[in-house]
């Protein structure tokens, strides 16, 4: 992410969270936080607690964020936002937290005499992390139709081409799921696990070899030592933590999508 992209991200983030952008110039922007966002970002629970108890006028903070100090006016005081900065990480985390669960309808109006049927889908966007002493992530977006169990990969790309709305459109109705959402999620989980099991595990084998090598070296230094058990054990655990290959699947977000038969 270059600095200009970061600037764009900030604009979109604060617009999407209904915060008013007070100034938006080259290299910096000033944002008036909403009460909700202040609570999310500013880490001052006592202030809000106090305010709620005393019934005072809430005064959510303003943030001045500098995206390019070279072109921002010199007298602007604020936080430098860069890729890797804790504030940006916080905003990323906040975007994820606030967007974990969604429900949307495809926006195609039916006619009064011919209502549109919308089929229920469940969507999960996840990150699969292959971890040992190194790390690799894969992004997967899976959709499962809750009537016939059809599973669709790269679901998000397809969704983004559709007109979607938060309210059910006029003259449209939703079909009831035959598969319960809970078991839908389990089906997705199993499918993913199955594909993972069929994958190539050279990376894990190699990690185990590196692990064993390091362990041998460690143990060499403890040879012929009498009273060692505790620190040796600590070091062994540290190596395990560093090298042990595992796969973690974390869910970024997901939800229900009601779509026409033609959509997917």
């Amino acid at each position: 992410m270059k600095q200009a992209e970061i600037h764009q991200f900030l604009e979109r983030f604060f617009t999407a969270t209904s915060c008013e952008i007070l100034e938006n110039k080259q290299g910096y922007l000033i944002v008036q936080l909403t009460i909700d966002l202040d609570k999310e970002l500013m880490n001052r629970p006592f202030y809000w607690h106090y305010l709620e108890k005393t019934g005072g006028t809430p005064n959510p903070a303003k943030l001045t964020l500098i995206t390019n100090p070279a072109i921002a006016p010199k007298d602007i005081k604020g936080e430098l936002i860069h890729f890797g900065s804790p504030r940006l990480h916080q905003l990323f985390a906040c975007a994820k937290k606030l967007s974990g669960y969604i429900r949307l309808y495809e926006n195609r109006q039916g006619k009064a005499q011919e209502h549109t049927a919308l089929k229920p889908w469940i969507n999960i966007n996840m990150k699969i992390s292959y971890q040992c002493d190194r790390k690799r992530d894969v992004f997967r977006s899976i959709g499962l139709q809750l009537i016939n169990g059809q599973i669709v990969d790269d679901f998000q790309t397809k969704l983004e081409k559709l007109p979607l709305t938060a309210k059910i459109p006029d003259f449209a109705f939703t079909l009831s799921p035959l598969i319960m959402p809970k078991s839908g999620i389990t089906r997705i989980e199993n499918t993913i696990k199955q594909t993972l099991l069929a994958e190539d595990y050279t990376w894990a084998e190699e990690a185990k070899q590196r692990w064993a090598k390091d362990l041998r070296l460690l143990e060499h230094f403890y040879e012929d030592m009498e009273d060692y058990s505790e620190s040796l054990e600590t070091e062994r655990l540290a190596l395990q933590e560093q090298y042990e290959p595992k796969i973690n699947i974390s869910i970024i977000n997901g939800g229900f999508f009601y779509l026409t038969s033609e959509a997917i």
Binding site: M1, K2, Q3, F9, R12, F13, A16, T17, P69, E79, L80, H82, F83, G84, S85, H89, F92, A95, L98, S99, G100, Y101, I102, R103, L104, I124, N125, K127, Y130, R134, R136, D137, F139, L164, A166, P181, K182, I185, E189, K193, Y201, W203, A204, E205, H220, F221, Y222, D224, M225, Y228, S231, E235, K246, I247, N248, I249, I252, N253, G254, G255
Partner: protein, 566 residues
Amino acid sequence: MTISINFDDSWNHEMMKRMEDDGPWANWELYKLALEVEQHTIIPEFEGLQAPKHLSDLTPLPHQLEVAKKVIEDMNGKAILADEVGLGKTIEAGLILKEYMIRGLVKKVLILVPASLVTQWAMELNTKFFIPAAIQRKSYVWEQADIVVSSIDTAKRDPHKDIIYNQNYDLVIIDEAHKLKNNKTKNYEFVQNLKKKFCLLLTATPIQNRISEIFNLVSLLKPGHLGNEASFYEKYKKDARSINDDEHLKELVNKVMIRNRRQDTGIEWTKRVVEAVTIEFSQEEKELYDSILHLKDMDAGDEGRSPFSMITLQREACSSREAVYYTLQNMLKKTEQPTEKLIQNVQFLMKKVEAVQSNSKANKTLELIKKINDKVIIFTEYRATQLYLQWFLKQHGITSVPFRGGFKRGKKDWMRDLFKNHAQVLIATEAGGEGINLQFCHHIINFDLPWNPMRLEQRIGRIHRLGQEKNVMIYNFAIKDTVEDHILKLLYEKIHLFEKVVGDLDDILTKLDFGKIDDHMLDIFSHSRTEGEMKIKMDNLTSMIEFAQSLKEEKEHEASGNTSIS
């Protein structure tokens, strides 16, 4: 093979709850934004760095990327970066820091560097890496700022020390870490007590192959990894100098240390052009020098006149009469009950000092500076000479700024800027040579020569580093037929020190088991009774160094493998 797969089911539970409660549901824009963010922070391959593609203003060199990659992928963020002077260790550390920040693994960072480099570190991190590193000025900065740059001397003092001990650092970076080789020092204890997850030790001097140094540095990075001190030393003799004989130790060092040398980097370095300038004393100067020699012969063994101070006086006489004067004064002051003879001798020398009217080296310097007609750095060992030169150059309309190790951080930066923008000459004493980058200049005058070749390397390293675009001109001054002349002959003609690229020599010297070169020099010059003896001893030292050199070349020839420690 079996491998554990963990599926995060916390999402699942919350989803069921929202279904029951019919919301709240996210908005579509934010939903998409979160996914875009995720695509940005994903690490697509096991190998490779993310940081470079987010740093538009920086083009790291291949060896710097390689180092950062290795530290992150193979060393788990615990490493000694021991590249030779001038290969950009700051950039490497910055890359590693940035990479960890992008991966969200590092937030709280402590960077300890020499006082003179604090500003420069903070500036480079801010401008090149967009990392908001704060310079420590007030004690509350430790808690408030996530990334703090400070000098270790400030940090280890109260009240800072206790505040720092209370912080949990994700990453600690220590520049000039060779000062931590000894585990009995306050600095060592301080660093040992820091709470840290990852740790980078930066040093231009490689581990000197001593077992105790290895033990101490590795223990800072990985406490407990080597078992306890006592049994480690039992296994490997504490003072053993060679770690190469033990496969395990070698492996260990390769696991924690990276060392690039200039010739490994594949970068085309500008040349070093060395010119030996031999100068003749004026009659008065020669008399002063000879009187010291004469006294030395007369009073050998006499109290209050250790060979050390006599040899110092001789070397000073080659620099300036001011330097001699200053030392003589000190000699008198420091001796509690000066003998009649001492007072006599000092007064005798004082007269000789007074007789000296001009400084031959200074005249030569002036001539040279005028000829060069560009920025020049003059190095001298003596403060008195430094002051004199400043005065002398001013008399002749040449602007100069002084530079000393003792200057406060701000003053160093200021002097550097003055030199860069306003003055033609910078006059530095030895201690001032460390920790300042002066690539914008490419002429060095070594007004007098240190005995330790490493110190010369450091002098030259200040300007012959990455970013230097021109060939570096080095002028070595020596007065004919003096101690200096001998030193220059040894360093220059016999071991060809000046043409060597940085680091060759320290490798050679560490390989030899013969102690400090300073001590040898001192011995040669103070204990030799005749010129002949001196010459023989000098030749011996030279052949020892040459021998080590040939050993090294042989070894490289037969192995030609690329281990990071040799």
